[in-house]
């Protein structure tokens, strides 16, 4: 019998991986992630490494870039390596299959939407698998942090964004955001975001509403889990008054966050941020002598790999397939011109119980850099906190 919360290093031959035992004497200053009296706690099994550091860390790069899970395999984490390889294989298979369909059909109009989504999913799965493989090998066993155990009822932010787009004169934006998560299980998510370039003829307004499903409930929680699933409906208006047009976007998207432990049980402190959907975009042109309206569909896809930092911050590296917005898609010379969306790095951190900071950088056909202060109001726990009784 192991004391709760204390992981012991044992060899695989000695351990029974699925064994659970009742916890004993829990210190009163227990923190989230540690056990509560009477709860069953699994014994942590640390496998025997096949090679010592730094070989697994190096193997995560070479041949790990091609053979995902190489580093974790040398660390003796066979199951994790298998899952990473499976993800890599699935990603490659989806990529090649969709590429073959696109090639054979010449990106036929009736097939291209679905096929492009599979292609993005394939490439993203490969990318996420690679990042997971690197993280799993390099990060400490417990990760660098975990999901925030509380979420705010209301979050508002005020910030500044710099946009470097060679096609437009605007650069400076005042940004605001208001997010509300109303109710529990499932919560109603309402969002409002704006960006204003007052003297440069550009304004963006976005409204969104979603239903936060499968979110962790405090009653069930021992360790915080940031996973959720959220079908979302959004509408945005982007005014380019000085350029003579306005775009409106109506979008339907399924967004999800999956903590890494859900897929890779011994990889902690990371998450996958995913999204897929469809949008319709209308362009209203209003220039001297011409008033016209055009419509175009838009494939939505987002794939991000994030890490939690302590219990107060998170960082996400992502690919987003959107071609609208400030970042647009990547411009490049060659065969894939215009197809890819943009990349981004997003981070947020709490600096006090009520205040936090958000920062984001995007590169597509423009650079976007943003920083905002966040005020959180009306927090509720999503994981059981020290001293809180089980409901």
């Amino acid at each position: 019998v192991q004391p709760a919360g204390a992981a012991e290093r044992v060899s695989p031959r000695e351990a029974v991986p699925s064994e659970v035992v009742p916890s004993e004497a829990v210190p009163s200053e227990a923190v989230p992630g540690e056990a509560v009296p009477g709860e069953l706690v699994p014994i942590e099994v640390v496998p025997e490494p096949r090679a010592l550091s730094p070989w697994p860390e190096l193997a995560a790069l070479v041949p790990g870039v091609i053979l995902h899970g190489s580093g974790t395999w040398l660390q003796g984490r066979t199951e994790t390596s298998k899952r990473l390889l499976l993800a890599e294989g699935s990603g490659l298979l989806a990529t090649f299959l969709s590429a073959a369909v696109l090639f054979r059909t010449g990106a036929a109009r009736n097939l291209v939407g679905t096929t492009a989504l599979v292609a993005v999913a394939g490439v993203s799965t490969f990318g996420l698998s690679l990042l997971s493989s690197l993280y799993a090998t390099w990060a400490p066993r417990e990760g660098w942090g975990e999901a925030q155990p509380r979420r705010a009822l209301l979050e508002s932010s005020l910030g500044y964004s710099y946009v470097a787009d060679p096609q437009f004169a605007f650069h400076h934006f005042l940004t605001t955001r208001l997010d509300a998560l109303l109710g529990a299980g499932p919560a109603l998510h309402l969002a409002l975001a704006t960006a204003h370039a007052p003297d440069q003829g550009n304004q963006l307004y976005q409204l969104g509403s979603g239903l936060r499903l499968l979110e962790q409930r405090p009653s069930a929680a021992r360790t915080p889990d940031g996973s959720y699933l959220e079908p979302r409906l959004g509408f945005g208006v982007h005014r380019f008054d000085s350029s003579g047009f306005v775009t409106r976007v109506l979008e339907l998207e399924l967004q999800a966050r999956l903590d890494s432990e859900r897929l890779l049980p011994d990889v902690r402190g990371a998450f996958f941020q995913l999204g897929a959907g469809w949008a319709e975009q209308w362009f209203a042109f209003d220039v001297p002598g011409v008033r016209a309206l055009n419509a175009s569909s838009l494939l939505l896809a987002h794939a991000g790999f994030g890490v939690y930092v302590r219990r107060c911050a998170e960082l996400e590296l992502y690919y987003d397939h959107r071609h609208d917005g400030f970042a647009g898609g990547l411009t490049a010379n060659g065969l894939g011109s215009g197809v890819a969306g943009h990349f981004g790095l997003r981070g947020r951190a709490r600096v006090s119980p009520s205040w936090g900071l958000e920062a984001e950088a995007q590169i597509g056909s423009a650079w976007v850099l943003g920083l905002a202060a966040v005020l959180s109001v009306g927090e509720r726990a999503t994981a059981r906190l020290p001293g809180e009784a089980q409901p």
Binding site: F168, W278, D324, A366
Partner: protein, 376 residues
């Protein structure tokens, strides 16, 4: 070697240079049509011809517009004779000494350039043997078919996206040759598969069987080998010319964007054509009619801004390639056609196959009408 080239490229991307992938080509455009030796300086107005060879007594050009204006400046007394060869020349093109013509209009007859001989060689090249006036240090010549400066009805064709189907392109050229009264063929890019020197030369060889000249912009497939190799063979990626009262602007959108330098040129061309019919052609369309495919500009905001500018500038017709099918739609109220029927991997289930467009232009009635000609 590749790694050594890749590192600066990555650093440049990190610093934002990737935001303008076609900037280098815009700078290259500005250098087309200008060449100099110790004895002679040649400038082709608007960069509308590639200078293939230049010496004191021999000039060889590839025309990328139907009407060429050349300015020759000699640092020394010019040679008695000059041989001028212009490939991709308009049938019936005549050479005029603009300087002498202006002098004659003023009543001060001075000896001008004398055309000793002229011939239209096989493959669409015009050859002129010229006798130059001994005292002239500056010569201004125009090469154009007569009466093409005045607005009048004519036809032109559009073909794009030949790529790997170059071995079958003769079928298309044969069909084009049977099409009556077509003055020239416009290209919306992707004439080659990878834009290599061999492929560009091959395409020019194939063009020799076409009885009309071919003026084209480049496509993303021309960027596979070297971003500016296309310019050595076909001239500017972005250029504008006027023919029979209609303005044509070819825009380099091969990187799914239009460089701000080219946007600046386009503003000038739109201003010049305010009272004219104006046809704009580019390879990648700003917006794909099938939006989820996004065979279009990388940034939809840029696409809309460009279309708004074209609409404001009174553009009458937009022609695109890139998508290997046929689409007819409108963008910002401007009639738009995508015609990628040159034979490259076709879009399936579209019932189109290889094709080209024929456009009837009537500048006096301010009318343009477009029809599809199927090859298969």
């Amino acid at each position: 070697m590749k790694a050594r080239r890749a590192l600066p490229l990555l650093l440049a991307c990190a610093l934002g240079a990737c935001l303008r992938p076609s900037e280098e080509r815009a700078h290259q455009d500005a250098e087309i049509g200008v060449a100099e030796t110790a004895e002679l300086r040649l400038e082709v107005e608007g960069g509308q011809a590639v200078v293939r060879a230049l010496s004191a007594d021999e000039i060889s050009l590839w025309a990328s517009a139907p009407r060429l204006r050349l300015q020759l400046g000699y640092a020394v007394p010019p040679p008695a004779e000059l041989q001028l060869e212009v490939a991709n020349c308009m049938p019936g093109a005549e050479l005029t000494d603009l300087g002498a013509a202006e002098q004659a209009d003023l009543g001060a007859a001075e000896p001008g350039v004398t055309v000793l001989s002229s011939e239209r060689a096989a493959g669409g090249a015009c050859r002129f043997q010229l006798a130059l006036p001994g005292a002239a240090r500056e010569l201004r010549l125009e090469l154009a078919p007569p009466d093409t400066a005045r607005p009048s009805h004519f036809r032109f064709a559009l073909l794009s996206d030949v790529q790997e189907a170059v071995s079958r392109v003769q079928d298309i050229f044969a069909r084009l040759n049977r099409e009556p009264d077509v003055d020239f063929l416009l290209g919306a890019g992707d004439l080659t598969e990878r834009g290599t020197r061999e492929q560009l030369e091959r395409f020019q060889r194939e063009l020799q069987s076409l009885r009309i000249p071919y003026y084209t912009t480049l496509g993303n497939h021309e960027l596979g080998h070297h971003p500016t190799l296309f310019h050595d063979y076909f001239g500017r990626g972005s250029q504008s010319f006027e023919y029979r009262g209609v303005r044509f602007s070819l825009i380099d959108s091969a990187s799914a964007t239009v460089d701000p330098i080219v946007r600046g040129w386009l503003d000038d061309w739109l201003e010049q054509s305010a009272q004219q019919l104006h046809v704009v052609a580019m390879h990648i369309p700003p917006l794909d009619p099938i939006g989820v495919r996004n065979g279009a500009f990388a940034s939809r905001s840029e696409a809309a801004a460009l279309l708004a500018r074209l609409a404001e500038g009174g553009v009458d017709l937009t022609l695109y390639g890139h998508i290997h099918s046929y689409y007819r739609f409108d963008n910002a109220g401007i009639p738009a056609f995508i015609s990628g029927g040159g034979g490259a991997i076709p879009e399936r289930f579209d019932q189109i196959g290889r094709h080209f467009l024929v456009v009837d232009a009537d500048p006096e009635a301010r009318q343009l009408s477009v029809r599809v000609v199927r090859v298969d």
